[in-house]
């Protein structure tokens, strides 16, 4: 018998009607566990769509507090949330959106010494890298390769965004494409460079789509591809990228065999307000 209540049948009816989802697929989503690292421009829409979709366990990782300048794009937070912890603000939005979702919050920066524990905490099925800095992106990639967890990478800046999906054993990881950290201060962060507010909505929603497809086991993921989007020209490009057998972390003879905390660019280090 289906374990779905009448209320759930109604809430998720537009999913259940889909041939690729059905009641069984909706049950998979309700049993699904996704960790969203970063509750900013990317993590806001990603977490909200996952919650609306009925992904039953959502983890939110963020050390920061809501700032007024976040609200132009970080739609999980409200004006009344300014000054509150982002994970608490995110939890409140998700719980109001869908009481079926269990939210787990981690009020911390991901680091080499905590990320595997966070992933193991609920044995998450899929991770979403919704962070805004390279040290976190390399750390998440390396941790997912080592823990054999699939994840969606994304990065956004100005009018551009990119995303790719890593699935263990099925294609390249982030380091196959970007082997090393860019030199410190070579790349501006969105604090310095600006970001069109809708960009996180487009790319973060694509990340949530990948998580949902992965849980359902349907369609083709962005494994082996980097998808780029330019909002000014409205061009999407899907660039084929091979796995690098010499990749420092997922290659045949990896040189990165333990997690490392790379140095944060100075402007990213902010004290909690």
């Amino acid at each position: 018998m289906s374990s779905l209540t009448n209320e759930q049948l109604e809430r998720y009816s537009r999913h259940i009607i889909l041939k690729q989802v059905g009641g069984k697929g909706q049950e998979k989503l309700l049993n699904g566990k996704v960790l969203v690292i970063g509750t900013g421009g990317l993590g806001s829409p990603a977490a909200m769509y996952l919650a609306a979709a009925g992904v039953g366990t959502i983890g939110l990782v963020d050390y920061d507090v809501v700032d007024l300048s976040n609200l132009q794009r970080q739609i999980i937070h409200k004006t009344s949330s300014v000054g509150k912890n982002k994970v608490d603000s995110g939890r409140a939005t998700i719980e109001a959106l869908n009481p079926d979702v269990k939210v787990h919050t981690y009020q911390e920066l991901v680091r080499a010494d905590n990320i595997l524990d966070i992933i193991r905490d609920q044995d998450y099925d899929f991770l979403i890298d919704a962070t805004d800095n390279f040290p976190a992106k390399f750390l998440i990639n390396d941790a997912c390769v080592m823990a054999k967890k699939p994840f969606s990478h994304a990065g956004i800046i100005r009018f551009q965004g990119q995303t790719m999906t890593y699935v263990p054993g099925q294609g390249p990881c982030y380091r196959c494409v970007f082997p090393e950290m860019p030199p410190k201060d070579a790349v501006p962060t969105c604090r310095e460079a600006g970001i069109i507010g809708v960009m996180g909505g487009v790319i973060g929603t694509l990340q949530a789509t990948e998580a949902i497809k992965y849980i359902l086991g349907i369609g083709d993921l962005l494994t082996g591809y980097l998808l780029t989007y330019d909002a000014l020209t409205m061009q999407f490009r899907k660039i084929k990228i091979p796995r690098n057998p010499n990749c420092p972390v997922c290659g045949d003879h990896p040189t990165v065999t333990k997690l490392v905390d790379y140095e944060q660019p100075a402007c990213d280090l902010r004290k909690k307000g």
């Binding site: 289906s2 049948l9 109604e10 009816s13 009607i17 059905g22 009641g23 069984k24």
Partner: protein, 84 residues
Amino acid sequence: MADGMKTDANVDITDVVCPMTFVKVKVALEDLNDGQVLGVHLNDGEPIQNVPRSLKDEGHKVLSVRKAADDTYDLIVQKNGLAQ
């Protein structure tokens, strides 16, 4: 049930409207094996117009449709019957 055919399960969708009509039938079918048959009790109008069509779209075979005296209908549906 309808036409004296033995059904493996039955679902009454006279108390719901679109899209819950098809949702309830679909979830009931998921609990059956291919080839098993489901009895569906449904209303005239939108349900009888849409539910059989949606079932066919998903590969299920409507074996019979019978109208009852109170203007409701009874369908007999074979799970994935069009694929066999």
